[in-house]
């Protein structure tokens, strides 16, 4: 059986599945239940500074979008940081960590952007025996209006400054949680690294309105007829999160910086993908809030089963394995030529490939043959775009087949070359460089 133990910037956990800082980790009751269910660690819901706690709205905190069978695809929330007293939380953290010494207990923190504030809270958290801290620079609603959360995370200089304070005032590992509500995720990641962070975690939630009530014209979720942007998460955000994780993993400035991957992790497969793109652990929230803590059993079983099948003994064997395959568009091989192929035995003749191609793409799929309904790719028109594969309701019915070097591409009339060539050398590129200087980028 594969070894799922993790040592993430010195924080040990029996598996890489952590619960993200969020409602499921707001108090000892929930966290105890999560540990009993098998979760490897938690990031305790964000603590604020000493004093009267924040208050939440008393109406809906969550909005969602669904598939047809009410499958939850995306969730949004306008909940703030913990609304419980700081010392209640600290007492519970200490007790839980004592009860579960083998699990990771990381504490999320968000206090005003002053050195005194951070200096004041860090010893209190350290005293609980927690394994590390996560700096909440991501919360996009409410707290950001008060100069915290995403308001810090959107200014790299602030990130670097706060990280530096934290590294100065605590021995605990520091994980900097990044907001995706920026244009270039590498900037805040670099700032965190310059400040000395031990790791980054991402993504936090995305500014969102889940819908509009067309009877009242109120955005959802709505409070007494009005709404505000909340943080979007769940399966719908995974592709965005994967890209941001990959961008940091392959950026020369942050290459090797430990990453805790967050964003739509719902199954073991999602988790494995984050790991492959460089994450050392993953954090989960929406899936747990949808199905309960038991899902971690599926995640553990699925991940270890896949690792056994592939012969991966430890997580280190897979972490980052996909990073080198993420590159810039300009380095993609333009001599790689594919054609769609429709398996006529599997085809159920819905015709979606035809109409998608005909109406919106390259007019490369027939609709009939000898007067009968028949869908077939015309290689002399097919650009290999993969749209038909994506809209086909039958798995593996349409596949993309690569033309081997030496074969004729009927569309262009050119023989497929056997060497790699990309945009940097292409004759249509005004900035093309002589071929001999072109190299595939290093990792």
């Amino acid at each position: 059986m594969a070894d799922l133990r993790t040592n993430f910037v010195g924080i040990k956990s029996p598996n890489p599945f952590w619960l993200a800082s969020a409602p499921p980790t707001d108090k000892a009751y929930n966290v105890e239940r999560a540990f009993k269910a098998g979760w490897g660690g938690v990031v305790w819901k964000t603590l604020g500074e000493e004093g009267p706690p924040v208050v939440n709205v008393n109406g809906p905190r969550y909005g969602a979008i669904w598939g047809a069978d009410r499958r939850l695809l995306g969730l949004n929330n306008i909940e703030l940081i913990t609304d419980r007293d700081l010392y209640v939380n600290l007492r519970e953290i200490k007790q839980v960590k004592m009860n579960w010494p083998d699990r990771a207990v990381v504490v999320s923190i968000m206090v005003p952007c002053t050195e005194e504030s951070w200096k004041a809270i860090l010893p209190l958290v350290e005293e609980t025996g927690a394994d590390g801290i996560e700096l909440n620079f991501g919360c996009p609603h409410g707290m950001s209006e008060r100069g915290m959360g995403a308001a810090v995370g959107q200014v790299p200089e602030y990130i670097e400054m706060v990280v530096r304070w934290c590294k100065a005032y605590t021995r605990m590992p520091v994980i900097t949680k990044l907001t995706p509500n920026i244009t270039d995720i590498r900037k805040p990641a670099r700032a965190a690294k310059h400040g000395g962070t031990d790791a980054v975690s991402l993504i936090n939630t995305i500014n969102s309105i889940t819908g509009v009530n067309l009877d009242t014209f109120a955005p959802e979720p709505s409070i007494d007829g009005r709404g505000t942007h909340g943080g979007y998460c769940g399966p719908a955000v995974k592709p965005i999160a994967l890209n941001m994780v990959a961008e940091i993993a392959r950026d020369p400035d942050t290459y090797g910086l430990p990453i805790s991957g967050i964003g739509g992790v719902t199954t073991w497969r999602d988790a494995a993908e984050f790991l492959a793109l460089g994450a050392g652990t993953v954090q989960v929230c929406t899936a747990a809030m949808t199905y309960g803590f038991k899902i971690v059993e599926e995640m553990i079983s699925g991940l270890s089963g896949w690792m056994d099948e592939k012969g991966h003994a430890r997580l280190e064997d897979i972490t980052g394995r996909a990073v080198r395959n993420v590159t810039d568009w300009q380095y993609l091989n333009l001599n790689y030529v594919t054609k769609a192929h429709i398996d006529q035995d599997l085809c159920i003749k819905c015709g979606r490939c035809h109409i998608a191609c005909e109406d919106t793409s390259h007019q490369a799929i027939t609709k009939s043959k000898d007067g009968a309904r028949h869908f077939e790719v015309m290689d002399d028109e097919c650009v290999g775009c993969n749209l038909c594969v994506n809209v086909c309701p039958v798995q593996d019915c349409i596949t993309m087949e690569a033309l081997a070097p030496g074969m004729l591409d009927e569309r262009t009339g050119q023989v497929v070359p056997d060497q790699y060539a990309n945009w940097t050398t292409h004759p249509n590129n005004p900035s093309a460089k002589p071929a001999k200087t072109v190299v595939e980028p290093a990792e």
Binding site: A68, I348, K349, H354, P393
Partner: protein
């Protein structure tokens, strides 16, 4: 005290009172909103959808299902009614398993088609419950058309003609309009007096008068209709029943299946309907199945369908055959009635010839089978009763029509079961009625005028 299932002879009240309600309740309870969303999501919105092409009325099925999926059931109903104003009844009685649902690509993919009929019912039920009318009549044209028969073909034709601005009078021989929708469909397929509710909905568009109790050949003639109207649409159905041509056929207990089905539909109290202890139904179509299943549901102990050919030749769909089997009906093939066995003037049994195919001809093998029974239902097809041979061309016992419903007479159109070309289904009748209305309209208004008006006619309500 009930008669019980095993009391000999033909008797009423074989069941405990509450069982009648259960047995004749809606065969398929309607989909609720969530079920409709889930089912609608299964539709792939196919290009040039096979289901649409398999529908005799060419309802844009992918579009109406997508409208249901997006919580627009009224839009879905409009899509349906634009092609077939009897979409509500068709949703209940269409043999979808041999039409749209057989063509559904999910049938090919997984043997489980999208439940198109149930979705159609979902949308049309909502529209009818709200009394939502989608179409307005065009201005009065001053033209009058007589429709003979208020069944599906007549109603579909009358509705489309009324939309065009013509004045329509429907004459029907029965006390109530609806034709086979009212008198000829198994009770559990359209409970709750749905047929009359649908007629009310159709007639509410205006411009259509219905005259009941008026029969062609008895109360009026084709000539008298032509004298008073600009055009005539014949949709009188097949009111006669084929004889068994078996000895003893006149005995008490030999009944027409269509009469039995009609009596069931019209009964206020099913426990008053007599049914045999052992019943044999002769035939292999939907009528045979409907009669046999309902005989069983009324408490008959043994019900056997005897069909003179093999399973593959039965007109009843596989689904209908399975339904009958699930209710405990026995279906026997290759048996043709030879003689009714009579005791004291009453049916005591039936003797059947074993049959076989010999050089594609049906022959008797010389062997016979005897089944004891108290009641025999004839369900071997119906016949046209009106004598129209003088004025129209009759082919195979039906009025000959062309693709748009025209007969040999330039001012007479026909459709539904009385005419050639249909499949004796509600949905084909509805299609023929609708298409004949378009043809009548073109003929009355002149091709140029009709084309000009075409776009303005289906006005959104």
């Amino acid at each position: 005290m009930t008669a019980g299932p095993n009391r000999d002879g033909i008797a009423a009240g074989r069941l405990a009172p509450e069982l009648y309600h259960d047995n004749f309740a809606d065969l398929h309870p309607p989909l609720d909103r969530h079920e409709a969303f889930v089912e609608a999501d299964r539709c792939y919105f196919c290009f040039d959808a096979p289901c649409l092409n398999a529908c005799p009325t060419e309802i844009d099925i992918p579009l109406f299902i997508r409208q249901i999926a997006t919580d627009n059931p009224l839009g879905a109903a409009e899509t349906i009614f634009a092609q077939n104003i009897l979409g509500g009844m068709c949703a209940r009685v269409c043999p979808t398993e041999t039409l749209c649902e057989e063509a559904c690509v999910r049938e090919a993919a997984e043997g489980k088609p999208v439940r198109i009929g149930m979705l159609q019912r979902y949308a049309t039920d909502i529209a009818m419950a709200e009394g939502k009318q989608f179409f307005e009549r065009a201005p009065d044209t001053g033209r009058t058309i007589a429709v003979v028969g208020a069944g599906p073909a007549g109603l579909a034709c009358a509705h489309r003609l009324a939309l065009k601005g013509h004045a329509v009078t429907i004459f029907d021989a029965r006390p109530k309009p609806g034709g086979l929708n009212e008198y000829g469909i198994a009770s559990y397929k359209a409970p709750g007096d749905f047929a009359q509710a649908e007629i009310d909905y159709i007639l509410s568009v205006g411009g259509i008068d219905v005259v009941n109790g008026q029969m062609l050949g008895r109360d009026f003639t084709l000539d008298s209709l032509l004298a008073d109207h600009d055009g005539v649409f014949l949709a009188l159905g097949l009111a006669g029943v084929n004889a068994l041509r078996a000895e003893g056929e006149a005995a008490a207990g030999v009944d027409d299946a269509v009469d039995f089905i009609a009596a069931l539909r019209q009964a206020d109290d099913l426990s008053t309907l007599p049914i045999g202890r052992r019943v044999v139904v002769i035939g292999g179509g939907m009528t045979a199945i409907d009669a046999a299943v309902q005989a069983k549901l009324l408490g008959a102990e043994e019900v056997t369908i005897a069909y003179r050919r093999g399973k593959a030749m039965m007109n009843a769909s596989q689904w209908e055959q399975d339904l009958a089997a699930s209710k405990g009906v026995t279906i026997r093939h290759w048996l043709a009635p030879k003689a009714i066995l009579v005791e004291n003037g009453k049916v005591a049994g039936i003797e059947l010839d074993e049959t076989a195919l010999s050089q594609e001809r049906l022959i008797t093998t010389g062997r016979t089978v005897r089944l004891e029974c108290d009641q025999v239902f004839k369900a071997i097809g119906q016949t046209l009763v009106a004598d129209l041979a003088g004025e129209l061309t009759i082919v195979g016992g039906k009025i000959e029509i062309d693709a748009e419903g025209r007969t040999a007479h330039e001012r007479v159109w026909a459709g539904g079961d009385c005419a050639t070309g249909g499949e004796d289904l509600t949905v084909t009748a509805a299609a023929q009625g609708r298409d004949a209305a378009e043809s009548i309209h073109r003929a009355l208004m002149g091709a140029g005028q009709a084309a000009q008006r075409q776009t303005a006619e289906l006005v959104h309500g």
